[in-house]
């Protein structure tokens, strides 16, 4: 069971189907069940049976999540694997001592990976959909695993299975979410594991 955290401005908002729904469908196709919680209730979320957490994205104008502290609950939840997507990666950065700064990308972008990564695979280049008005200054010690011409595109925690991607994998890069689900199922969520 994957817990999807809706970071949009209001529970059940008009943005929910755009940023949570597509991720949920990939999780389903990957053979995982999921349930959903809005970030405003995430601090008290029941983590029973949860194998991983995905923090979903928000609309370009929607940065309310960055002003809230309620994300700390699921983030510290029993060492579970976490994947932050766009706003989710920004939330991870803020929670672990990084920062965000204005940087906009809209549309297909080139993402370059420099290291082997459990979610991104082998080093190389691929196209991805970007939709953000802020980018991340990663927390101290975190590993930058991918960049674009504009900003850091992917990061991971140095010791825990916590990942962030700035691009939206639910658009044309389902494999990233599928690999995260596989990693959650495997139990061994070590960052050196290659899911190819």
């Amino acid at each position: 069971m994957i817990l999807l955290v809706d970071l949009c401005f209001r529970p059940g908002s008009l943005s929910r189907d755009e940023f949570v729904g597509p991720v949920a469908r990939i999780v389903e196709r990957a053979g995982e069940a999921w349930r959903e919680v809005h970030f405003s209730q995430a601090g008290s979320a029941d983590l029973t049976g949860i194998r991983g957490i995905i923090l979903c994205g928000t609309a370009l104008q929607d940065n309310l999540f960055s002003e809230q502290a309620a994300l700390s609950g699921p983030l510290s939840g029993a060492g579970l694997p976490v994947l932050g997507i766009c706003a989710g990666m920004q939330a991870l950065c803020l929670a672990f001592g990084g920062s965000i700064l204005p940087a906009c990308e809209i549309g297909m972008i080139k993402v370059r990976t420099a290291v082997q990564d459990p979610l991104l695979g082998s080093p190389g280049e691929f196209e991805a959909f970007g939709l953000h008005s802020f980018a991340c200054e990663p927390p101290p010690g975190w590993i930058v695993t991918a960049v674009s011409d504009t900003c850091v595109q992917a990061i991971r925690h140095p010791h825990q299975p916590i990942f962030g991607v700035m691009f939206h994998p639910e658009v044309r890069n389902d494999l990233v979410v599928e690999r995260f689900c596989a990693l959650c199922r495997g139990g061994d969520a070590g960052c050196n594991k290659n899911t190819h």
């Binding site: 008009l14 943005s15 189907d17 755009e18 729904g21 597509p22 469908r25 297909m108």
Partner: protein, 226 residues
């Protein structure tokens, strides 16, 4: 939040409009009429019926014309959205975008330029579930254009009902078309929707068809009580 819905007259615009009306305040429709039949962003065969749809739904309509030249038509879109903001105080735009990164990217950029929210409630929706929802919700949708094998002339004017959906599933499996027409394989026109107070009746329409490409040209239509 006051919103404007980008409306082509087809099923995706109106389903997105309905979703928006359930959660926010839809203040107006915005319609762009393109002179270029190859326009990727705006062309649909019966866009001239959007004013009648707006009347059926009792929603104000902001319209703009465009020559349909790539990228330049974005300036026309921006002009129309700006006008909608001036007239109706909209804070955001709703689109019926399904999977087109090309369309979504351009509309998102216009919204960012104007400081508006952008909502795409059908983005990467599951196609079969979506069409089933559309039918069960009571939308009356007909095919207004086809542009792909194996669509015959009989499809022009055909209602998207359970039978049509069954055929579309077969086509999707055998001919690699998208179930929703996302690839431009077919276009639609909404004649009735839950948010319509009156329904549209087509009086006179002509079919133009050759080589798996065709258009339903609606010459006369009117509203009648539901």
């Amino acid at each position: 939040m006051r919103l404007g819905v980008l409306c082509s007259g087809g099923k995706d615009s109106w389903y997105a409009c309905q979703l928006a009306m359930q959660k926010e305040e839809v203040s107006c429709l915005i319609s762009i009429r393109s002179e270029n039949e190859e326009s990727y962003l705006f062309h649909t065969p019966d866009i001239h019926l959007v004013p009648l749809q707006a009347e059926a739904a009792a929603l104000p309509l902001v319209t703009a014309e465009t020559a349909g030249i790539e990228e330049a038509e974005l300036a026309d879109l921006e002009r129309a959205v700006s006008l909608a903001r001036e007239r109706y105080g909209i804070e955001g735009i709703v689109t019926g975008a399904l999977q087109s990164v090309y369309q979504a990217t351009r509309i998102q950029r216009v919204c960012r330029t104007l400081g508006l929210w952008c909502f795409n409630p059908l983005w990467y929706t599951e196609p079969d579930r979506y069409l089933q929802s559309l039918i069960r919700a009571g939308f009356v949708v007909v095919v207004s254009g086809v542009a792909s094998e194996p669509f015959t002339a009989d499809w022009l004017g055909r209602q998207i009902d359970e039978g049509a959906l069954a055929d579309l599933r077969k086509y999707a499996a055998r001919h690699r078309i998208t179930l929703t027409g996302e690839g431009g394989e077919y276009e639609t026109l909404v004649l009735d929707a839950p948010v319509f107070r009156k329904r549209i009746v087509i009086g006179n329409a002509e079919k133009e068809y050759a080589g798996f490409r065709g258009t339903l040209r609606v010459r006369s239509a009117w509203l009648e009580a539901k």
